[in-house]
Symmetry: C2
Subunit: 241 residues, 2 copies
């Protein structure tokens, strides 16, 4: 009799320490917009992506590797960077065969947390690459932690919705005994037919759309499989798996 | 033009530091079963309740004050204590005019966290005293934090459901811009007509019912206003407000 591997959902980086990350597959989730942008750039042919946590580091590393330094602070291009955080900026014409050095705060921190805590494999997940993530998880036969990036350690709904979408598709392959996962699937199945309308209620939507006007970004970030690739984190780089 | 006070929901004690507790009303929520038992004992006439975090402290303090030392560990009466954590044990016949010294782990820790962080008022909430909590919050005209105790810092659904029940009733009186609160109300309104059936899916239900047989406790803990009293935390005691 084979035992199914276990799946947990961590709703915030501040809760990740409650789960045994060692030897698991960790899926880093930052739906608006880091992991959606990562999927978009790799799908459109970026050589690889170096995620970094600070703007000066992005400037320095991009100069070293001849890459594109990208990132925003408060919805604007950060000083010294040439491109933003929008998944729509990274078209094939622009990004193919290039190296992207992307500053993200919540997402990069989670990637490093997963790494130092001994995760076996680290991937990034978003609606644009949902199917690739699910296929990967079901093939590994390892324990999984769906790690939501949240917003400055606060819970957010969009990352939880994506965790729910994954659970909805892979749950037959896992033992799931975790209220966070149950809630995530519940809220996803309740709203999956109208994600864009439901998203209008979210804190992050208000910030991105009402303050900065990124309505097209939101739509991309909530569309399943439009950049269906598996970003694998290896040697501090995200590569196409 | 009057500004409405702000309401936040903290989904776990490990997330409470993200909110400014100072000068707020904090509602400590531990639905299965600490805050339900507190409501039950005070409603049935207990003089007051001293919540403590450890069994030896409960034994010591109850001897000092001539109180009843109560608490469980792993579903059984803890050594040296005479009563358990069930709200059904604290009938009027038994508890009236007595002092209850109750060991709770998650709940007591949260009460102390709220206190040391400068909360103005601290109350405990559960379905059995839902209306009292809501009436109190709407009268105070202060910012509110609904603080879920969770389970060993992990998110749990039952505490979140209660936060959602409060939000559902008081939201017109508050500014609420917080995904945790939005999710809580969403999951509550979705399941409010069938809470006992919905609860069968929860981690904590499995523990309490399947392992320890506390089905009657669960039913009591999910019934609104059956012990409708306001437990106020003052000078390390919970008193009827």
């Amino acid at each position: 009799m084979s035992q199914k591997p276990i799946l947990y959902t961590s709703l915030s980086p501040a809760l990740l320490h409650l789960y045994d990350v060692k030897d698991t597959v960790v899926v880093v989730i930052d739906v608006f917009r880091a992991t959606s942008t990562i999927a978009s750039a790799l799908y459109n042919g970026a050589k690889y992506i170096i995620p970094v946590d600070a703007v000066p580091k992005a400037v320095e590393i991009s100069a070293e590797v001849g890459g594109i330094a990208a990132g925003e602070r408060d919805g604007k291009l950060a000083d010294g960077l040439s491109h933003g955080n929008s998944p729509l900026e990274y078209t094939k014409d622009f990004i193919e065969d290039k190296i992207l050095v992307l500053t993200t705060t919540n997402g990069t921190r989670l990637l490093h947390m997963a790494l130092v805590n001994g995760a076996d494999d680290i991937v990034t997940g978003s609606f644009p690459n949902l199917t690739s993530v699910c296929n990967y998880l079901t093939k590994q036969n390892k324990n999984v932690i769906l790690a939501c990036a949240g917003w400055k350690d606060r819970f957010n709904i969009e990352d939880t919705l994506f965790a729910g979408a994954v659970i909805h598709r892979v749950k037959e392959h896992f033992t799931i005994h975790c209220d966070s996962s149950f809630m995530a699937e519940n809220i996803y199945t309740q709203h999956k037919e109208n994600l864009p309308q439901f998203a209008e209620n979210l804190t992050h939507y208000h910030r991105l759309v009402n303050r900065f006007g990124y309505i097209d970004d939101i739509e991309f970030c909530l569309t399943e499989d439009v950049a269906d690739v598996l970003p694998l984190y290896k040697d501090e780089k995200l590569v196409k798996g």
